[in-house]
Amino acid sequence: MMEIFSHLIDGFGIAFQPFNLGMMVLGCLLGLFIGAMPGLGSVNGVAILLPITFFVPPTAAIIFLAAIYYGSMYGGAISSIMLGIPGASTAVATTFDGRPMALQGKADFALVAAAVASFVGGTISIILFTLFAPPLADFALRFGPQETFALMVLAFATFVGLGGDDIPKTIFMILLGLVLSTVGLDTISGRPRLIFFDLQGFYKGISFIVLAIGIYGIGEMLWTLETSRGKVEIISHRFTWQRLKAALGEVKTAWKTMSFSSLLGYFVGVLPAAGATPAALMAYGLTKSFSDTPEKFGKGEISGVAAPEAANNAASTGSMLPMMTLGIPGSPTTAILLGGMVIWGLTPGPLLFLQQSEFVWGLTASLYAANFVTLILNLALIPLFVWVLRMPFMILAPLIFVLCFVGSYAPDTRMFDPWLVLLFGFVGYVMRKLDYPLAPLVLAIVLGPLAEDSFRQTMIADLGDWTVFFTRPLSGIIMAFAVLLFAAPLLKGVRRRKAAADKT
């Protein structure tokens, strides 16, 4: 315990270096702005802004992106409450009671509740992260390529078993992501693979950034343009410091809700397929069912705002735990962060704690600080964000398109990538309309190279004996969980059909 504490103190020294601190404050501000804009969430912000970080040291880069991640979790509530449109899917549950509160003239109370709950969720989850991460990383040091591959299978299995999306579409997207990750030169034989139409650009492979910017930048904007029809309506409200202080008093009554939702959010966030959106929805549902006055929910109940906001912030930190310790991202945003770490020259996983402790503890300490900074910025700048929300969507959308173009061009300075972004954006939009889940695709293209390497290493070492994944104790346990998760929806379907047959 003392060792963790001493690492954390060192981490604060790193996080408070002027450049890192500046990146953190900038990230928090940008995150708040990104989260507040309808249609934009942490994953869009991180995907579009990731290329910028290739030109700063890795620690500053991860602090910047983590702050965006954090800030956007806070910011999502602003548009949910003021516009009635969730800033991102993670803030959907916040609209249930946040919007009615705003319509009753209590927008400031809802915004303060969201900010304070986010702070509580963030703080509790960072403490849990600090306590759990080092022992988990220590344990994961025993993993060989068999266990690494088994973990990847488990990550994909959680999407099938717990994702709640259409099963064949989920599996299709995982496989598509894995196949797209094999495009380019094979790292083992050096042979080119899947060079479509002999285009030279494919020799370098398809970067996950290009895919992420395409589907989360262009595709998501097309979707938002369609659903909002280019127009969003903001409610008018006057903000005064006296009202904000009164709101802080009322929020205190929801402390139990916030604590419970934070714990729930953290553990849901750790699961790869779950993440912040289901965490927020579960926290809302459970808070409502445990409440003495469930009939008030949906009509402007402050706990109905506090629960999902505490949970979504806690889940965002929770999803960093498997990313940092096992190299398995817990959400699409952390999948992009993980891909970024590979580009920065780091090896995600347990070795980070040994070889890059400055990076790990600098990030951990920055999360504590970012949480505090975001709370202050959020409360202080509420009127500014509300003013920014008045920006017509027809200005924001082309601005995002231009950023997608420049952001995809920057990493390799080649025009091939912006063209791919446009293609992925359009196809991603069509897929989203047809309910193909996009998160497994991003996760698979990020994990694809790691999965292939670990699989082929095992196959070469064990002379093609694939049963080794099941016979080694650790990988066997992980694979057993994965098989259970894959089988769960099938068993559920069989049981449902049997029940239906029994009824008739």
Binding site: I52, F55, D166, P168, K169, I171, F172, L175, L176, L178, V179, T182, D186, I188, S189, R191, R193, L194, F196, I218, M221, L222, L225, E226, R229, G230, P392, M394, I395, A397, P398, L399, F401, V402, F405, V406, Y409, A410, T413, M415, P418, W419, L422, G425, F426, Y429, V430, M431, K433, L434, D435, E452, F455, R456, M459, I460, G464
Partner: protein, 168 residues
């Protein structure tokens, strides 16, 4: 929506077959290579086969009306959506194409001018201000700040004095 679900699943099945074909083209091998493990084409080939099976599964579920899209009688896109998607995608396409000739900055200025002013119907003073501000901000962020040079096309000579002032 139902027709879109079925057509898209069929297209995905064809794409999967194309991927399988690409994965076994020599010198790629899809089987076991002695002392080298699985061939270079093995993973993409077998994964694409999995994609094909899923695409057929998706098609059949859509056909039998198991999925909401398979049962839906609503149109896949209404006339506004078709118009919005067509204008957006083609204007981004034109911006990328124009980059080769007039460079990224002029292309993004023209794109903003069109999208904000013509398509978005935002008042012209605001449109012009935003269309000028975006390329200028990107120049300072990318070229001056991060030393990433964007393509300039025929406008390259115009930037030489700016390079001297802000980039190097």
């Amino acid at each position: 929506m139902r027709r879109a679900e079925l057509i898209f699943a069929a297209l995905l099945a064809l794409f999967s077959i194309y991927l399988m074909y690409m994965s076994q083209l020599p010198p790629l091998q899809i089987g076991w290579v002695p002392r080298k493990g699985p061939g270079s084409g093995a993973l993409p080939f077998w994964l694409s086969l999995g994609m094909l099976i899923c695409a057929i599964w998706i098609f059949l579920r859509g056909w039998r009306g198991v999925t909401p899209q398979g049962r839906s009688t609503e149109p896949f896109m209404d006339s506004y959506t078709v118009w919005m998607v067509a204008v957006t995608v083609s204007s981004i396409f034109m911006m990328l194409l124009a980059t080769y000739y007039v460079g990224a900055y002029v292309a993004m200025f023209l794109f903003m001018l069109f999208y904000v002013g013509v398509f978005g119907k935002i008042p012209w003073p605001t449109t012009i201000a935003v269309s000028l501000a975006v390329p200028i901000a990107i120049f300072f962020l990318f070229e001056s700040g991060m030393k990433i040079l964007l393509p300039k096309g025929a406008t390259e000579p115009l930037f030489i004095p700016l390079y001297k002032m802000f980039v190097y």
